[in-house]
Structure formats: C-alpha cells, structure tokens
Amino acid sequence: MWDQIEQSLHQSVERVFTKVAMLLPGILAFFLALLVFLAVAWLAAYLVRRILVAMRFDDRLHLERSALIEWSPSQTPTLIVGRIVFWVCLLAGVVVGLSAFEAASAESLLAGYLLAYLPRLVGAVLILLVGNLVARFLSRTVLIGAVNMNLQYARLLSSGVRWLVLVLTAAMVLDHLSIAGGIVDLAFGILFGGIVLALALAVGLGSRDLVSRSLEREVTRPQEPVPEEKLHHF
C-alpha cells in the first residue's frame, strides 16, 4: 500500500519535472524573443526620433496648430511618435515570443487562446487610454468654459461630461472584449435612455412653468437699449 503511494508520488513529481523541463525552452524562447524585440524597438524609436527631428516635425506641426498638441500638451509630437513605434515593436515581440513559446512547449491551447485574444486586449487598452484622455480633456474644457460663462453648476457639468465619456468608454471596452456583450448593450441603452428621459421629464414636467414663463418673457420683451458698458477690456 505504502509502496504504491510512494510510486504514485514519484510519478507525479516526475511528471511535474518533465512538464517544467518541457516548458523551460518555451519560456527561454519567449524571453529571448522579447529581449531581441526590445532592442529592435529601442533602435527603431531612436531612429524615428532622429529622422523626425531632422525633418523639424514638431515645428511643422506647431505651425499647423495640430490637434495632437492640444490633446497631449506635455509631450512633443516627435516623442509621441517615437513612443508609439517603441510599443508597437514591443507588442510584436510579445506576439512572436508567445508563438515561440507555443512552438517550444507543444502546448497550443494557452498560447493559441492568448494569441487570438491579444488583438482584442490591445484594442481595449487603446480604447481605454483614448477614452480617459478624451474624458479628461472634455471635462476640463467644459469646466473652464462654464466658469468663464459664470455658470454656478460648472463642476456638475464637467463631472457629467467626464462620467458620460467614461461610461461610454467602459461599454466600448467591454463590448470589444466580448465580455457579457448583450448585458452591456442593454445596460448602456437603458442608462443613456434613462438619462435622456430623466432630463426630458425634468424639463417637461418639473420646469414646465419656468420654461414657458421664460419663453413668454423672451417673446413679449420690448427691445431695450443695451446698457453702456462701463469697463472696457480692449
């Protein structure tokens, strides 16, 4: 009895070691591919940056008031392009490394699944990043614009815009990852529809008198002369 248990344990340990031994070349191949592509990515980014600097890429974009500068003000366009090249190369390295891992380990399930899912994952990360950037930019734009228009609820407006964009981004990310697609579509539709309906009801019922009074006032108001501005800014 004891011998049988011992034998089974030995066989299990052997299988584990065999498995590890089989995986090791794959892991090694993965890291090797990653290292090579890291070097390639660094070199490619460096070369692209040098070429763009030589072409005075930043100056040209500045003259044309590129939207890229507005969206990412702390980075120069050359740096941004350099970084994009770097990460694309590195991503390619991960994909190649995974293929090498798959070939070396002869286990196609994990790598195949990951490889098939990787583009979606990358797309989702990109959507998330862009969504965050857009949410931050738009909320700040709305906040500053509303403050300059003397709107007391400037922060509320700004937060509303931010969350609207973030919710939209989250829905897009989940949809892109094919995670509970049906539920996300439904929930998003209900949420947005609900917000619009709530606003319509708030204006139509809650503020009906206010709106009608305001409209009547606009229609019946006599043309008053505009008071002369005492302060002249320019």
Binding site: E64, P73, R140, T141, L143, G145, N150, H233, F234
Partner: protein
C-alpha cells in the same frame, strides 16, 4: 505659400498702374468702403492743404465676390489720391477684428513696395484715425526725422483699455525695455523699411500662424528699430464691444506668450526699461465714469477659485495658490490682488504656456477669472482716489513687472527647480 499667391491679385492691379506715391493708408480688416472713401477724401483734402504735392494710396480689403475693375482705376479717385483694393487673406478673421493680421499686413506691404511709398499708416476699420491730424501725427516723425515706427498714445479713461493696462503694456515694457503705452495698437505709423521687416516677420513664421497678431512694438524691439509715440485724440470705443472676453484674452495673450517664447534670447538680456520719446501734446484724459459695481467681477473670481483649483494647481506654485485662497476670504470692499502676486501669476501662466503644462487653450481659459479679479481690485483701488492717481498707479504696476522679471528669468531657465 498659398497665402502669398492670393495677394498679388491686388498687386497686379497696382503694377499695371505703377507710379510713385508718398503715403499709404492701409486698412487691414474688413471695412465699410463707402465710409472709407468719404473719410479718406476728407483727410486727403486737409493733408493736401499742408502738402499740395502729396500723393496718397489707400489700400483696403475688397469684397472677395466683387471683381476688380478692368483698368484698376477706382471711380472715386482724385489727382494724388488712389484707392487700391486687395484680396483679403482667406481663413478665420483675427480674434480681435480691428487688429491687423499678418496676412493682411503682407498684402499691404506688397502694395506699399509697389507704390514706392516712404511711410505707411495702418488704421483701425472704424476709421476713427483717418483724419489729417492723426495721419500727420503718425507719419511726420517718419518723414521728417527718419523714425521707423510711431505708436499711438490714446486718451483713455481709467476704466478703458484694461487688458493693455494690466498685462500687455507693462509686460512688453518689462520684457523688451521700452515703455510703449499701446504695444498692440490698431493704428500706427511705420516706415517703408520697417513695414518690410514686419511683413517679412509675418511671412517667415516669427509671428506664427495665420490667425496670429502683429506686434509692431515687439518687432521694433527685436530688430532694434527706432520707436516714437504720438498722442492721438482718437477713441475706439464701440468697435470691440460684444467680443467674448475669454476668447479675446486667450487669443491676445496666446499671441504675446508665443512672441515671448520666440524672442526669449532677446528679452533675457534686457534689464530695466527706457522711456520712449512721445511727440505732440497729451490730449485731455477722458473723464472718469460713474461708480462701477465690482460685485460680478469678484463673483467670477470666486467661482473660478472654487472650481478651477485643479487647473490652477498645475500652473501656479503653492504659495500663489495660498495667497489666492486668502484673497477669496476677504470682504468685497477689501478685495485686493497685490501687484507682486498679479505679476507672478502672469509670469507663471506665460511659463505654463511655454512648457505646455496642459493644453494651451485650457491654460489661457483659466486666466480669465484671475484677470477679472485683478480688474475688480484695480477698480476698488481707484474708487478711493482721484483720476490723477491712475498714471502713478499704472507706473507702480509696471515697476512690479520689472522687479518681478528675475522670477520669470529663473523659472524660464530652470522650470523644474523647486518652487514652493
């Protein structure tokens, strides 16, 4: 390049009829042609009394739909007076429509070169400056004493021209060392050579994109041209009414900060300032208007302080934010923004604009509540003094800009250094 191809339509007309002229009156913004013809004829008649041999060219932007006449002659022309319409530059108009855009200035310069004029007067489209006395004030120093640029000194009230008084004039004085009262004037006289320099600056990209503004006083300081000022009895009250304050503030300051960035190697070497010679007698100052309710201005400042802390904290150092916080707690009648604080705020915004700490449109937009706070503080301060105290008050502000320049220099050169 496309811009430069658009302009010669006017010059073709001019070349066909090329002839010498002495003076060019240029309007750089859309203008009522009827009003221009009437004002120009009246001014020319008065000028011709003093100088019968004067030959004058009036350049103005024509309606793009209108076709130039076959022989180029304008039916309203008189001997010695010619009208040359030019095709206005395409694209968005300037953020302040009364100010010359670089493209319009290039068109006027081409006409001036073709006509071989000795001096040129750029006038605002409200044509308040198109009268004999004003034109003489702006051009006589150029004709007689070979000055390069003649900038106006307008007779303004204490509550007029506030953007210029709070930022434009004292900042350009501190940077470029010349005490010019209106560095961004709608009317100015310029020699043919200096006009060429201005237009060259516009074409060469120093003035920047097409919707940038032309800063003649800055260009004169950059190229070390001789500048004079002339007192003018001209007022431009109505022409800029209705413009959005934050948009104008962003446009004008964005352009000025851009000039700062381009000319950093020049203004970093300049210390102190020198008075600029001013011709003619000062015109009577405009009487002080009634009391102004500063409550809305202070409310705008408080609204900004409540909501824009996140943005301000990216631009201003902690000590400035703390001082602003103290100011928000002051009672309305004690509301004051000290000059030193205001100067540091302007310098920090200029630096943030240079470093692109956040989007430039956000940086410039976030300055509006602070500017309104300064206006409130200035109005409250002046309400307790007589009208004669305005000039000394503005001189103190200008000196604060000058004494704060080392702070700007330090932050400009070492922006990452610890700044509490």
């Amino acid at each position: 390049m496309t811009e430069r191809l658009q302009v010669p339509v006017a010059v073709e007309v001019q070349n066909e009829r090329s002839g010498e002229a002495d003076l060019l009156i240029g309007v750089a913004s859309p203008v009522s042609v009827e009003k221009l013809l009437t004002a120009s004829r009246a001014a020319f008649q008065s000028l011709a009394l003093a100088a019968p041999s004067l030959r004058c060219v009036v350049a103005y932007p024509r309606d793009p739909q209108e076709q130039p006449s076959e022989n180029g002659a304008h039916p309203e022309e008189r001997p010695g007076l010619r009208f040359v319409p030019y095709l206005p530059p395409p694209g968005q108009p300037s953020v302040v429509p009364s100010l010359a855009s670089p493209a319009s200035l290039r068109a006027i310069e081409l006409i001036a070169t073709s006509a071989g004029v000795g001096a040129c007067v750029i006038v605002s489209p409200d044509l308040a400056a198109v009268d004999a006395q004003t034109i003489q004030s702006l051009t006589n120093p150029i004709f007689e004493n070979q000055w390069d640029l003649c900038m106006p000194v307008y007779a303004t009230g204490a509550l007029d021209d506030l953007l210029n008084k709070s930022i434009l004039s004292p900042l350009t004085r501190a940077l470029y060392g010349r005490r010019i009262r209106s560095p961004l004037a709608a009317d100015f006289g310029v020699s043919a050579a200096m006009l060429g320099t201005l237009a060259e600056g516009a074409a060469g990209g120093r003035i920047g994109s097409q919707d940038a503004l032309v800063w003649p006083a800055v260009e004169a300081a950059r190229t070390e041209n001789r500048v004079l000022q002339a007192h003018l009895a001209v007022r431009h009250d109505a022409q800029n009414e209705g413009l959005d304050l934050s948009a104008v503030l962003a446009g004008v300051l964005g352009s000025l900060f851009g000039e700062m960035d381009r000319n950093a190697s020049i203004w970093q070497r300049i210390r102190g300032s020198q008075a600029v010679q001013t011709s003619d007698n000062p015109t009577a100052p405009v009487a002080a208007s009634d009391a102004v309710d500063v409550r809305p201005l202070i409310d705008s400042f408080h609204l900004g302080a409540r909501n824009l802390q996140e943005v301000w904290s990216l631009i201003l150092p902690p000590i400035t934010l703390l001082e602003l916080k103290h100011i928000t707690r002051l009672a309305p009648d004690q509301f004051r923004i000290p000059d030193t604080l205001w100067v540091r705020i302007v310098y920090d915004f200029a630096l943030a604009h240079r470093l692109r700490t956040i989007s430039r449109s956000h940086i410039l937009g976030a300055l509006t509540p602070l500017y309104l706070g300064w206006v409130a503080s200035y109005v409250l301060e002046l309400s307790a003094t007589s009208s004669s105290a305005v000039e000394p008050r503005l001189e103190l502000l200008a000196q604060a800009y000058e004494s704060g320049k080392p702070y700007l220099l330090a932050r400009w050169r070492w922006p990452d250094r610890f700044n509490p």
